[in-house]
Symmetry: C2
Subunit: 217 residues, 2 copies
């Protein structure tokens, strides 16, 4: 454990391919973070196996049959116990209430497989394909209590090809998700930013290739 690394927890409900992308990017040193916990609301989520393979602690807190606020209180307790500072949702298939949001916002991040605000909610790739857009993509955003409505950090585009099916489109979007999510998390952890209105505003990058002092403009 390093004091220089952000303590990130991941919430997932399924195979967790975006968790794997984040974990690999952290392991390669591309994102200054340590994934300190993988939490799932499904005991059989494949992402928990991927975490165990990597020696990352896991906790499953099944949501089925449990009142929503009690479930979230237990999630928060598990996150507090490992002193998580950031929470990344990676295919976590439930909306979060203020019980959770108020504890961790604005340091809750999600990735969505469409260019929000187009196609929020489930099956975004199929929604986009059926709508007939010629460009789709993925969106990393801060999480609020709405469905995929929070301030946007980063978007990457994916063209819809003439011979695409919903599945081939989803596959190419997923490839871009695996690039976008680590990139966005690195931006959030390494740059100064604020939310202005509902825009995520990053301070200008210092141009390290330019001799100091940088010339005016």
């Amino acid at each position: 454990m390093s004091d220089d690394l952000a303590r990130v927890a991941v919430l997932l409900s399924g195979r967790g391919s975006n968790f794997v992308a984040l974990a690999d990017a952290c392991a390669r040193g591309e994102v200054p973070a340590e994934i300190v916990l993988v939490l799932s609301n499904k005991a059989d989520a494949g992402g928990l196996d991927r975490a165990r393979e990597r020696g990352i602690p896991t906790v499953a807190i099944p949501s089925k049959g449990m009142p929503r606020e009690e479930h979230e209180s237990r999630l928060v307790a598990a996150l507090d116990e490992v002193e998580a500072h950031w929470v990344c949702l990676a295919g976590y298939m439930r909306l979060l209430t203020p019980v959770f949001i108020d504890r961790y916002a604005p340091r809750i991040v999600n990735i969505h497989p469409a260019l929000l605000p187009s196609f929020p909610g489930v099956d975004a790739q199929a929604q986009a394909w059926e709508y007939g857009v010629r460009v789709s993509g993925c969106t990393v955003h801060l999480v609020d209590t709405g469905c995929d409505t929070g301030p946007i950090v980063l978007q990457r585009t994916v063209p819809v090809l003439d011979d695409d099916t919903s599945d081939t489109l989803a596959h190419r979007i997923l490839e871009q998700e695996h690039v976008a999510y680590p990139t966005a998390l690195r931006m959030l952890l390494t740059r100064r930013w604020r939310v202005h209105g509902r825009r995520v505003v990053f301070d200008p990058l210092i141009d390290v290739d330019r001799p100091w002092p940088a010339s005016a403009n």
Copy 2:
């Protein structure tokens, strides 16, 4: 006049920069079309002046104070008189009713300064900037009676930069509109296509660089 050129009419309400882009592309032979009429619902629309400069016939049929269906009947009469086959909307700031749509669909095309279905309606660039998207763009679509809801032909993306304002974003989107609209019109005029569900499906391009017969796959 050539029998090989599609007879296209343009409807506009303002300066008509997309009309100019279409007219220039036609004049350069990039789009196999002839603009046979520019129609406006505003007698003082700058686009009418641009048309006159190019020797393109113009008609103004002011919409103000006229019942909507009567106005559209007069538009249709003007289009019928010049035997227009296609209608391109270029900053035409009114919705069209079945009086017009049923006469010319599916050969009515519009361009919208956002990646539909995000940000339909007026001030799309400002809507996108205020929402905080990181990617916007423009959409060429077939026109139905909804507000920017018709099947999509082509989209081009424009990144939203950290130091963009709504105006700088709108300027860069406009540059892409001027590329997208002629490109989309050329596609519609030169390729086989159909609307499937609400997707515009183009038949595969014949690869003209490959000797005939093209090898399988």
